[in-house]
Symmetry: C2
Subunit: 386 residues, 2 copies
């Protein structure tokens, strides 16, 4: 039995545990807030501290990229950490991410690194408006971000941003990436896996829809071979450059037929949750297979599938269980505004059937927690009905 320690004890560790148990794997999680090693699906059970966790496991991995660097160093010293601390750090620092993309000649949005006022001013002159400013070290789900649409906003934004840079609690100097906003057609992501033998496999490109900066719906209905190949090339370049082991997620802006990398996540990813019901092997199992030295599982789409995030809500009407293929995944977390509490996976034999079921779901869910799901579902239905 392989023993896996996950850095982070959130929903991704939990779903790794649920995927690993049938494989005979023993998955524990290191909760960075309490410094305890716990059972991911029932964190009341404590197994000791990080050193014990490291000593007792066969392999260490991470469910998030903002792990303290000394923790990563301790784990890496054991020789058990996969992917490498280098890869995890790149996911946690947009400056490293951007240099990696440039060094691999991978298309991404034009940017400037900002450490001070001079950088800020030069960003405004060298990039076209609108510009999006993203903190280098934090900032996913819309946190630590500013949008500059008009030069008149510059002073206000710089004031906030300089406070943010100077107040960074991290031991690593904070910084900002100024990025020219891309007038993209849609956002897509590829979830791929590479195992310790260098074998690679990737899931079909997922189309992602964000609401207030947070992923709200992902959908996969078919495979666009050309785009898939373009995305897979980016995935394989990065995975090989990093000698990566595990699941790696890459978010893109699609502009016409071109994909520009937006973000890299060195881990299983929210936009890959649909694979639990929609793919031959789910991303959690493939991550575990990869880091445990097993052959990767097929990443083939079974049938059109969508995932709806449940954000800041812990009460879903029972009636959704009447819709065929609805698979509800709760994370067992306390309700908090903006918090990812769970997700719903949904399939259809055809894109039309999936769209019809999504329309039914959206009619049952409340508008406050799922503000634009109906619109998304109706659009999918219109597209599928053509």
């Amino acid at each position: 039995m392989k023993k896996v320690l996950v850095l982070g004890a959130g929903q991704l560790a939990r779903m790794m545990d649920l995927a690993g148990a049938p494989l005979g794997m023993d998955v524990k999680a290191f909760d960075v807030r309490t410094n305890n090693v716990v059972l991911p699906i029932d964190p009341e059970h404590i197994y000791g501290d990080l050193n014990q966790g490291i000593a007792e496991c066969d392999v260490i991995t991470a469910e998030f990229e903002h792990v303290a660097h000394n923790t990563l160093a301790t784990c890496e010293a054991s020789g058990k950490l996969l992917p490498s601390s280098e890869a995890i750090k790149i996911g946690g620092d947009r400056r490293l991410e951007k240099s990696l993309l440039d060094s691999c000649n991978i298309a991404n949005a034009k940017y400037v690194v900002i450490q001070n006022k001079a950088d800020f001013d030069s960003a405004i002159t060298s990039l076209q408006l609108p510009i999006i400013f993203k903190s280098a070290l934090e900032g996913y789900d819309g946190k630590g971000q500013w949008r500059l649409k008009d030069v008149e906003q510059a002073d206000t934004i710089w004031q906030e941003m300089s406070v943010f840079i100077n107040n960074a609690s991290s031991s690593i100097p904070q910084g900002i990436i100024a990025e020219q906003m891309v007038p993209f057609d849609r956002e897509v992501s590829i979830i791929g896996a590479r195992n310790s033998k260098g074998e690679m496999a990737a899931y079909p490109l997922t189309e992602n829809h964000h609401t207030n900066g947070i992923l709200s719906v992902s959908v996969v209905t078919s495979v666009d071979k050309k785009l898939q190949q373009q995305a897979f090339e980016v995935f394989s370049k990065l995975a090989e450059k990093l000698n990566y082991t595990g699941v790696l997620a890459i978010e893109f802006f699609q502009v016409g037929e071109q994909l520009l990398v937006n973000e890299i996540a060195p881990r299983v990813h929210n936009s890959g949750h649909w694979t639990q019901q929609g793919a031959d092997t789910c991303q959690f199992e493939n991550h575990l297979r990869a880091i445990c030295g097993l052959p990767l599982g097929s990443t083939q789409l079974i049938r059109p599938t969508a995932m709806v995030n449940i954000i800041g809500e812990d009460d879903i009407p029972e009636e959704i269980f009447t819709i065929p293929t609805v698979a509800l995944h709760w994370y067992d977390k306390e309700k908090r505004t903006g918090r990812k509490m769970g997700h719903i996976n949904l399939c259809g034999q055809t894109e039309l059937e999936l769209a019809e079921r999504l329309v039914r779901i959206s009619s049952l869910l409340n508008k406050e927690s799922f503000p634009d799901l109906s619109e998304f579902a109706e659009n999918l239905l219109a597209k599928a009905s053509q």
Copy 2:
């Protein structure tokens, strides 16, 4: 969050736990050997005794039918037991099972109940040889069974059988059911669910293959509407007669176009494990939905699927992971001859693809632990290639 207590802490409770966690259900198991309430996927965690378990849960169910009657009575007195103790007891006593079938006018093999030598002699005269004798209270997976093919064996068999009847450790008097052996074409089973509102749903009939009296392979490739209807009628008659709540499994002998009931199991069933990968909703989730008062999930077949039991073996070559759709399910049990240790689910877009994959799997698994899997796979391939 619904709290469920399962009587029995084996693989069925474990798989209920894994299916219940994403639904936000808290599944615990009562281990009848240690009298402890434990976490099914990690039974080292003890939560107290039966009374505490009953007090702290919302609903009680069972993973096996041979629960001590006083335990069932204690659970039923709490008002939380589903299905009823009556239904569970019927599954645990072939005499009750046979009377139920007769009272519902459901076709089953001709039989005689044996308590003494006179019953035994009359069975031999009133039933045609060969006769199979099955202990009323135990005896699944081939235990507590005798086959009489020739009258000359009668004395030897009766000697063994009378010792068996008199040595019964149970508080309920042991007995034997003598059944005329049915020259069946194949063995099939239906797994159905009925929820507390009386809604019912059943999975497509599963074809089952036994090796040395133990289920070795189950396969579902398509739906035969007529047979399905016949099986569903039996299921619904029994489920309604028992005012049943939960998943109920019924095993049949198929003789020509007729189904004769062989056995009833008031629980999730080994021949329904394929539903984890092959159906819209798996049997474990549907059992939990049923007993928790939720709408049932779709029981539709996604694509042709097979399940291969892993018996008495804890080492499977890693190479099977290279076969697409292989889903391995270990039960985390200590290796013992004849013990169900896990199972492999396998799918194909077509029956042919499934059969080809099954042939590949059978070539990788050792013949000692999977003695007739190759033959089964080759037969399926021949049938699918027609």
